[in-house]
């Protein structure tokens, strides 16, 4: 399988706290990679370094290289805004823009830059909402506030908003942790479909979820990458003792 994103000796510091230690990892294209590990192991930190979200935190320092195709996204010449257009992100808590309608939320990425033709907008809204299986539920109330939707619907709306700007990679930071089991199931089905077109990297606390949705799994502990491999292998015959202990629930 082709590699889409590569971490080369990634280190992340917050002040004096060394949160991610010398991680090297290849994320395969058009597949789902899960990042698992106990709280505070640095999995979210790794995820957020992939779309340069740490740039917003003054105390954060990222070293090493992150290659997207053949460009280092931390290169001086690279604009973080351009990186985030190519690498979208879905957050832990659904965060639609409350001042916008459902329709406007989907095309929010286009509203940033301004011009978008009305007919184009309608097409984008319909196709994106169909992709996240939300269209039938909201097609009659596109102009109402996004806040009237349930949590699961809001999260699917956020995914629609992310794919609307056509990124290549989608990062998901525990996207189901605020949702009920039925909403979670819908998001998981959606992730399965998304990988046909996108490279999906998902951080999750839920090991069953990692086992269900991902093709590859990376296990992190104390800021270090302990083991990385095909999900099937990680969950059945892990090489490292720590991985096995975590997966079998002996710690974490």
């Amino acid at each position: 399988m082709q590699t889409k994103v590569t971490l080369e000796n990634l280190n992340v510091h917050f002040g004096s706290n060394h949160a991610v230690k010398d991680v090297s990892l290849d994320f395969p294209e058009n597949s789902v990679t899960a990042i698992i590990g106990p709280s505070g192991c640095g999995k979210s930190t790794v995820l957020r370094s992939l779309n340069r979200m740490h740039d917003l935190v003054p105390s954060a320092r990222v070293t090493g290289r992150i290659m997207l195709d053949n460009t280092d996204i931390y290169d001086r010449a690279v604009d973080p805004v351009a990186v985030r257009r190519r690498i979208g992100m879905v957050f832990q808590k659904p965060n639609p823009f409350p001042a916008m309608s459902i329709h406007d939320n989907v095309v929010a990425g286009y509203k940033l830059t301004g011009s978008l033709k009305r007919s184009d907008a309608e097409d984008i809204v319909e196709s994106c909402l169909k992709r996240v299986a939300l269209w039938d539920e909201v097609k009659d109330r596109l102009k109402t506030s996004a806040m009237d939707l349930s949590g699961g619907q809001q999260q699917r709306l956020c995914i629609a908003r992310t794919i609307a700007v056509q990124p290549e990679v989608i990062l998901m930071d525990e996207p189901c942790s605020a949702l009920d089991p039925i909403a979670t199931l819908k998001i998981e089905e959606l992730i399965e479909e998304l990988k046909e077109q996108y490279t999906v990297i998902i951080v999750t606390h839920n090991m069953q979820q990692a086992a269900r949705v991902s093709d590859s799994t990376a296990f992190f502990y104390m800021g270090e990458l302990i083991e990385f491999g095909l999900t099937k292998k990680i969950f059945t015959t892990p090489e490292k003792r720590q991985t096995e202990d975590y997966i079998t629930g002996r710690f974490g």
């Binding site: 917003l56 409350p98 940033l112 806040m147 700007v165």
Partner: protein, 331 residues
């Protein structure tokens, strides 16, 4: 054995005591007293307000009887001839406050954005404390500065410039007096910037990080993030801040009285002197020439009260209509 028995009986007694306390309602009595006390306090505030309104209406009755509705559209003001019309004061109050708020709002929102989202933390903190310091300056000091420093500067520099370059607009015609409607607008603007800035700052700080990150993750620049995520989320709060500023501007007496020129006229030009409702009350109540004069001032006070009430009601409706269905609700 003996000890266990004593303990048991002690526990029994305690339970019994607890039961009695629960039933007897000793605590409930205290709660009731406290409830009546707080109710009394809040009722007294309402009562004071009612008494005030009642007294004002009673005292202004002679003026109301004499001039009727014509008072609010009358333009003449001559205490000696007992000619009274409130329009110049209404006009002065409304125009100075509204123009001041129009100028202060962008300045304040910009400052607040700088403090919360653009400046490095330390610099932002410093600017923020300075702004709050401005709010603590007594209005008479603003007035003194206005009349001794700002008005001469307006007269020598700003107004001649406006007359020379924008004199074709009626707003900037006439002679440069210094003390003028323009001076009042400037001083009001300076005085309400701190209040709008500090409330807006609080509102912006309360916007969840998730909202900002949502915009950044879509590839927003800082400016786009402000426009798409931050300001829409905060807009009802900002609107509230602006309305509070407007309330302050319309009631401001001292500083305005010192710089507006106190001439009861309706001039289209901002360079001409004007008058406001609070100013005429402050200037004339101590030297009223007749019972009717005093009554007229009372009626102006009443109008000021009503105008303030209307502004507040409009503000609430505005905030309500903006909040309904979108921002203000948490994500």
């Amino acid at each position: 054995m003996e000890i266990t028995k004593t303990m048991t009986s002690a526990m029994d007694r305690e339970t019994a005591a607890a039961k009695t306390a629960f039933i007897s309602g000793n605590k409930a009595w205290g709660d009731r007293l406290f409830r009546w006390l707080t109710l009394g306090f809040s009722a007294s505030i309402l009562l004071i307000l009612l008494i005030m309104a009642f007294e004002m209406i009673k005292e202004s009755l002679p003026a109301i009887r004499k001039f009727g509705w014509g008072f609010t559209i009358g333009k003449d003001w001559d205490p000696v001839q007992e000619q009274f019309g409130a329009l110049p004061f209404l006009y002065g109050s409304v125009v100075s406050s509204i123009l001041a708020i129009l100028m202060a709002t962008p300045l304040s929102v910009g400052t607040a954005l700088f403090i919360t989202d653009i400046a490095p933390k330390k610099l932002g903190g410093a600017v923020s404390s300075l702004v709050e310091l401005l709010a603590a300056i007594p209005s008479v000091i603003y007035g003194l500065w206005g009349v001794l420093v700002m008005a001469p500067w307006l007269q020598k520099t700003v107004q001649p410039f406006l007359i020379d370059h924008f004199g074709f607009i009626p707003l900037f015609q006439g002679a440069p007096y210094g003390v003028s409607m323009l001076a009042a607008i400037f001083i009001l603007m300076i005085m309400i910037v701190p209040i709008i800035t500090s409330i807006t700052k609080e509102v912006l700080t309360a916007v969840p990080t998730a909202q900002k990150e949502a915009a950044y993750a879509l590839g927003a620049t800082r400016w786009e993030m402000l426009r798409v995520a931050l300001l829409p989320y905060a807009r009802s709060g900002i609107l509230g801040a602006v309305i509070l500023g407007l309330g302050r501007a319309i009631g401001e007496t001292m500083a305005v009285t010192m710089v507006i020129g106190n001439t009861p006229q309706i001039a289209l030009s901002l360079l001409a002197p004007g008058y406001t409702m609070p100013s005429v009350i402050a200037n004339e109540f101590a030297e009223t020439t007749s019972k009717l004069h005093a009554s007229v001032l009372m009626e102006i006070g009443l109008i000021l009260l009503v105008v303030t009430l209307i502004i507040n009601i409009m503000a609430r409706l505005l905030i309500w209509s903006v909040t309904r269905g979108n921002s203000g609700r948490s994500a």
